[in-house]
Point group: C2
Chain length 221, copies 2
Amino acid sequence: MDIDKRYINQIQVIISMFTIKDGKLKVLLFRRDEEPFKGYWMLPSNLLMVNETLEECAKATMDEYIGIDDVYLEQCHLYSEVGRLPNDRILASSFIALVDSKTLELKRKNREFHSEWFPIDEIPKMVYDYANIVENAIQFLRKRMLSSSILIHLYPSDFTLPELQVLYEQVLGKMLDRRNFRKKFLHLELLEDTGYKTGGHNGRPAKLYRFKENIGEKTLF
Amino acid sequence: MDIDKRYINQIQVIISMFTIKDGKLKVLLFRRDEEPFKGYWMLPSNLLMVNETLEECAKATMDEYIGIDDVYLEQCHLYSEVGRLPNDRILASSFIALVDSKTLELKRKNREFHSEWFPIDEIPKMVYDYANIVENAIQFLRKRMLSSSILIHLYPSDFTLPELQVLYEQVLGKMLDRRNFRKKFLHLELLEDTGYKTGGHNGRPAKLYRFKENIGEKTLF
DNA sequence: GACAAATTGTGTATAAAATACTATAATGTA
DNA sequence: TACATTATAGTATTTTATACACAATTTGTC
């Protein structure tokens, strides 16, 4: 098969992976330990092969970097600036990936790189145009979080309403009234009581909830 | 420059171009006049070259097919199914394009194909996976139309409030009260009176409005 | 085991916004 | 002049968002 050289393009899949840790929305970055750009941070990525879809490539990348491949993925943007990388012409297909931190054991299969979870408002210096890509991914996720259905991928396991409220206060950038927040979520009928409660901390224990299976695209805020 | 053959991909830019004609939201399709798929319809498309961005390619495609290249473009989705075309592996980067029908004179520079505007609920049989692509583009546009800023690209020239209402009744799939619709739009302060009125039809002439220059992303419905 | 500290849980009153409905005037065409 | 359509005013009703104070349940300490 001969392809006209003018139309040959390479595509890399780049993944911004999010979770909730310590009540904050965080993204997983990997540190580059060689020159050039030593000490700068990267997003996990891989070149797309001709015999796979973007989603397959993204899953393989997740498996390679963290040993987990059943994550929620959503396409974000395709970057095509001609000079985005210094030497090669490679398009970047940006994805967001969502995982529940409570079920995630970071296996760090790829030990070539040191990885770390960064709060979304504390992104360090990054290689190439990755800072732009991760910033856009964060904005993309912010918007998506204002509809209900995406939440289930961040919270498949149990959580409390105060935890959820803290998350929304971060995303919206303002404080919310506890009673109104509860009223809103419980009236939407997205949650079900697990029957369990938290324990081991100061104060009254909080009820643990989970999202129902088939929640749709309700607007939350 | 040698590129590993496993990573060679071709990308085509595919454009769903929309306008308002006769009070309806329509999309521009081109008819295929040769076998195979004779009589089926297509969206305008082009292969991406290594020295151009997706947006440049999309503009060039618009210029080639209709002789206009200053249209509003927005990225929609990247399709990567391995078998989407029978012979080649070509990714499809889907765009929506918006033009104002009143300023659009369809030059049909590309006379190789017969073109036609189709209402968005009457899409004819289409080649390959184009029916899926145009349907997704329509859904994408529907959602985007519920925020204000995209409207200015469909209506740079003058329009009446009843026209705008008919459009929203299509998008929302339900009838709206005339007085409440007016109240809503005029209170949002998105429009300015041009000072002109319609004429040549039965009934009281309608005021002509246009969108103000810097309208943001207000939610409309 | 009594108490302080911390945290979750709950109801009601008020304001604001969206919707529904009635009515009438204005301005063109045929 | 009859007719069709747009423009304007207003009000009543329903829905939604907001503001706000105290009781309940645990942990930790004396």
